[in-house]
Point group: C2
Chain length 123, copies 2
């Protein structure tokens, strides 16, 4: 039977020129996915199951799919596991500075609310 004959369908990744800004922004507008991205920036690659996010495996798989199809991450299969990596070069080519700026904003989003605000300001 098509046991090892049938190849698993290749993982769909958009080409660099096809990465859509709205898809990227939507992908990044979810805390779980943003956590994945933040972790992924520190390491070149990481297996799916090793992310410290508190959701069911199927949910995690869904988030990886969103990230992959939006062009934010690249997924590579190795044996049983699936490794994910940030498409930093591609993203930088398509939308220069976007990833770094968003990740810098993320850092400010977390501990920035209480600290570091000058007196008061309207604008």
């Amino acid at each position: 039977m098509p046991r090892s004959t049938r190849r698993r369908p290749a993982l769909a990744h958009p080409a660099v020129e096809e990465i859509d800004l709205y898809d990227v922004l939507h992908a990044l507008s979810d805390p779980t996915r943003m956590t994945i991205v933040r972790i992924l920036r520190a390491e070149p690659e990481r297996a799916c199951g090793t992310f410290p996010v508190d959701v069911a495996p199927s949910t995690l798989s869904h988030h990886f799919k969103v990230l992959r199809e939006s062009g934010v991450i690249n997924q590579r299969e190795e044996g049983n596991r699936r490794f994910s990596a940030l498409r930093t070069v591609d993203l930088e080519r398509r939308f220069p500075g976007l990833l770094d700026t968003v990740l810098a904003a993320l850092a400010r989003n977390e501990h920035g609310a209480e600290l570091g605000a000058e007196p008061a300001w309207h604008g």
Copy 2:
């Protein structure tokens, strides 16, 4: 009766420190809202009804609400009209470089797909 006695409820705007990154990214992940933001960057202020977006007034009102409550725009009432303005200073204070980077990315998102791609590349 409370005709001019009752004040209209003040428009809710988040304080600078309370602007949430996820709300901002979500607000910017919609084409209609992004159009509003792009137009608003060119002019200091603009009345709601004067935006060349092809949606019903109620839909437009909804989008303005999303933009306002996420902290992207400021709305000011003047007589009958409601004027909107980008909170560029606040956004720059909260998330430095974010707005400019996203708007630059938007320009590339539109005419960038066909042009300017070197041979080919995987990453």
